[in-house]
Symmetry: C2
């Protein structure tokens, strides 16, 4: 998929059909979709089941519950979604390894699913503790080697710092960046400093013309990365 | 309620009626019930709706999604459960204040609901980052003044440290301690060092005689605290 956009589907005032139509209309112009706890609360496992009929190998189908519990609870939480084919899961790096992320990563790997760890968040409160612990969080990432990371477009310096650490330690990990649009960062902000994907929600989903917005953002991304940016 | 037990209802291999019968049979001998993401995944909002018919003012009805996201997502997640009457919500102190816990606490306060913050976790991975940041976490707690805290029975020293901080800073906050039973700590471990409640799951819910186990643990707690411990 020749796009660097992940659409965060956190709208909850639409019928389930809206999501099916939305995905159908946008799947050729975005890289993937992200579903959080608001989706789970509103549409339940049945909602995920309906959406799962659209799952393919060309997109990321990201479950973003910001998992941050002990291993048995996290595994019990994602278990049925893994079986439905959702292939990517976001958890917090800060909860640590033994009894937490080690077992989660092991479980996901065995199911051909990917783990993405939150390295830093997009809101200001992230500075209170998470960003102060960035070195500790990066040590967790070095040990666990997750498939991907989350780092905020609202603080591009943080992405640069993380990219540098990954490069110096020869760690391969995709970087996903939230914070574009309503949260304040302009499209392209994260891609420009080396993120692989920008996670964009309300700017697209609340728009009266989501396809136009997506195409405009794809154009911005292409201008940053160059035409052959696959 | 003259008990220090919160039952963690993380079993997912039972019909919903099991929970209703379980709560009915145990409500006079426990202080409250805790529901996590496994319950939400398995029984959905309809499950919470059914259980909400049993909600009273005498128990804690705790939603433990280990919330750790930006404020709009956390509020959108708990919104409908608050309306149903679930009165207590667990979030991670780690995610910080502005754009995170400030707005969540404000939302919950306006709905007469309580916020409980995770100060430390029961698994070993908690030592990797969370426990290294305990002083930062306690500063968040000092600023936010949540109604309650979570601290692990598996590391009673941590509870002692937290109690000392609360006392020195004249902060009132109930302490809830997971980690009893399957996770390794003996019943009474946390109460003995000053926790207010022990959160107990599988030791009770997987038992062939939950009521007997609960009564045995209540007896242990009474022996520690004294008879008039309300």
């Amino acid at each position: 998929m020749n796009s660097r956009i992940i659409v965060a589907l956190d709208v909850t005032n639409k019928p389930l059909n809206w999501f099916i139509d939305f995905i159908d209309a946008t799947k050729n112009i975005v890289a993937g979709y992200k579903f959080g706890l608001p989706f789970l609360i509103r549409y339940g496992l049945e909602g995920f089941m309906e959406i799962s009929k659209l799952i393919d190998n060309k997109h990321y189908w990201i479950i973003d519950f910001k998992l941050a519990d002990i291993a048995p609870i996290m595994i019990n939480t994602v278990n049925q979604l893994v079986e439905m084919g959702y292939n990517t899961y976001i958890a917090h790096a800060f909860i640590g390894l033994e009894g937490g992320l080690f077992e989660l990563k092991d479980f996901l790997s065995k199911q051909n699913s990917k783990l993405v760890l939150v390295a830093s968040m997009s809101h200001k409160g992230s500075l209170d503790i998470i960003d102060k612990c960035l070195l500790n969080i990066l040590e967790i990432i070095k040990k666990l080697k997750p498939w991907g990371l989350v780092a905020p477009a609202t603080r591009p310096d943080r992405i640069i710092e993380i990219k540098k650490f990954l490069f110096e330690n020869n760690i391969q990990a995709k970087i996903f960046s939230p914070g574009i649009g309503v949260q304040g960062a302009a499209p392209g902000t994260a891609i420009r400093v080396g993120a692989d994907y920008e996670i964009i929600g309300r700017m697209i989903t609340l728009s009266s013309n989501p396809i136009k917005i997506i195409e405009e953002i794809n154009k911005i991304h292409r201008e940053i990365i160059g035409v052959d940016h696959k």
